[in-house]
């Protein structure tokens, strides 16, 4: 994935979050405060504007711009947590012309660790970390097996989706939904859903880009 493709894929991500505004909020409504989709859409809009304004640049700078914009315009927990994903991906592709499976998988794993460090959540706490953990596992396997970037992303997306579904029966230990205790059981975590959609969108957008080459 070269710089141009990175920018396109990130724009696809931004568009997706703007579209999924209501759906993502609805997951947050039952056990959180119902604003997750709004938050993600607001961040996506700000990032999209920044990306569109940018001169031609590097993969690293595109990721960094998305991440920085989330941190500074979103606030809340999502600003730093979701922002960190893009900032860590940015670090992992420092000095690289293209993003490959290995650097992406590494960046995403670092992102997961950063999110865990900042937010204090671990897998099983019914947060976005659950979807990240299963995605990281799947992508690391794919990299070890020598899969292509697209294949790796695809497996990552599938892994994320499994992690997301695994949050349904959980009681939350982090995030606002933890106060719902038993009431949280049966509901899918909003942040984990966003991770699944992020990887799914990156996959389809990248396939699209490749088909256009």
């Amino acid at each position: 994935m070269n710089a141009k493709m990175t920018k396109s894929c990130l724009l696809a991500v931004a568009n997706m979050f703007e579209e999924k505004k209501e759906e993502l909020s609805s997951y947050d409504a039952v056990i959180g405060d119902g604003d997750h989709g709004i938050t993600m859409a607001r961040g996506a809009k700000a990032a999209r504007i920044k990306l569109v304004e940018m001169e031609e640049s590097t993969c690293r700078d595109y990721f960094k711009t998305y991440g920085r914009t989330l941190v500074s315009t979103l606030g809340g927990a999502m600003g730093p947590l979701f922002g960190s994903i893009f900032l860590e991906l940015s670090k992992a592709v420092k000095g690289k012309e293209v993003v490959d499976a290995k650097s992406f998988a590494l960046g995403f794993e670092n992102a997961m660790n950063k999110v865990m460090e900042l937010g204090g959540a671990k897998p099983g706490d019914k947060t976005m970390v659950d979807a990240m953990a299963t995605a990281v596992g799947a992508m690391n396997e794919a990299v070890a097996a020598g899969d292509s970037f697209v294949e790796t992303l695809e497996k990552g997306a599938k892994g994320a989706k499994e992690g997301m579904e695994a949050t349904i029966p959980m009681i939350a230990s982090r995030g606002r939904s933890r106060y719902a205790e038993e009431k949280a059981i049966g509901h899918q975590d909003a942040g984990a859903t966003s991770i699944a959609y992020l990887l799914e969108t990156l996959t389809t957008a990248l396939k699209e880009e490749i088909s256009h080459e």
Partner: protein
């Protein structure tokens, strides 16, 4: 259709602050180009400044707590979203009076994470910062995990007492110690009767049965784990007071200030009746009930309900608590 007096949901915070700064221009201002409410009487003479960041939507909290004998600044975020690290950094930097900055953090993931990042930035710029994480809500974690408890209405005791204490000119360490002392002696529990409406989505922030109340509700309408049937003020006061007294515990002979914090649409009439029920229970338990705070201070839009908080005080704390302040949301 939500019937709120707003214009564009995206401009709520901006327009609210414009109104606020105009209304209190005799004492407050907004930091140019940032999202920080500042006192106009800041002395720049070696006073430790006491600041906090918080999401908007809880008014008068926390923009309303900036003033003489209270906070030096409030970094405000979007609706129910903690301010970004940049905003908090601005609040730290702009209030620096050469004696260091005490950053109070109400324990919520967003507030903690963004504050941590801001303090890193400030320290990088050689600003002397110390943070104190405030937790008071007994519903959110067992008592042996206090740092897992969230910051709710009882943090008001801290804004007032630590703010007044800093005004006397104590050093950063002493100010932070006071903040920890107030925190450790404070306990809060919230009961909700009706949801507030999100001004962004226009829909109620949670659901609740017609004859039930939620015990343990959070300040953002986070679902509570336990319901009980709606009952008389006295009966609810009894349930809540018992849980609070046992938690710390508060015991006979102590001096305790009560906070009856309306969540938004609960009337003064109800708060006063409820306060009367609570203080009767405390007095019967041999506790000395000192000057209380009764009102809508830290709200969740127009949510119905009451956050009940107790703070056990020694003479020093009581002195600071009772001092006057001109903070618009807490003048007394």
């Amino acid at each position: 259709m939500s019937k709120k007096f707003i214009n564009d949901p995206e401009l709520i915070v901006e327009e609210m602050i414009a109104g606020y700064v105009h209304a209190y221009q005799d004492r407050l201002t907004n930091l140019e180009g940032s999202h920080v409410i500042l006192r106009k009487d800041q002395k720049k003479t070696g006073k430790v400044s006491v600041i906090i960041g918080n999401g908007s939507g809880h008014e008068p909290a926390c923009i309303g707590f900036v003033g003489f004998n209270m906070l030096d600044a409030n970094a405000y975020g979007g609706m129910f979203a903690a301010p970004s690290p940049d905003t908090l950094f601005d609040a730290i930097e702009s209030t620096d009076q050469g004696a260091g900055i005490c950053v109070l953090i109400s324990n919520h993931a967003g507030d903690v994470i963004n504050s941590k990042m801001a303090i890193d930035m400030a320290e990088d710029d050689d600003l002397v910062c110390k943070s104190v994480i405030l937790y008071d809500d007994i519903a959110s974690a067992p008592k042996d995990q206090p740092e897992e408890r969230r910051g709710t209405a009882g943090t008001l005791f801290n804004y007032k007492i630590t703010g007044s204490f800093a005004e006397e000119g104590h050093d950063l360490e002493a100010v932070c110690k006071m903040a920890e002392k107030v925190r450790d002696n404070t306990r809060t529990l919230t009961v909700a009767t009706l949801p507030g409406t999100s001004p962004i989505t226009g829909i109620p922030m949670f659901e609740i049965a017609d004859d039930e109340v939620e015990i343990g509700m959070g300040v953002h309408g986070e679902a509570a784990a336990h319901n009980m049937k709606m009952d008389s003020s006295k009966a609810i006061a009894k349930v809540m007071t018992k849980k609070l007294l046992e938690d710390r515990p508060f015991v006979a002979g102590e001096k305790v200030a009560v906070l009856v914090n309306g969540c938004g649409q609960t009337t003064q009439m109800e708060m006063l009746i409820f306060y009367n029920d609570v203080r009767e229970i405390l007095e019967a338990a041999g506790i000395e009930v000192i000057k209380p705070a009764i009102g809508n201070f830290i709200t969740t839009q127009e949510m119905g309900g009451i956050a009940l908080a107790f703070c056990a005080m020694d003479d020093e704390m009581q002195k600071q608590w009772e001092k006057p302040t001109n903070a618009p949301g807490f003048a007394w």
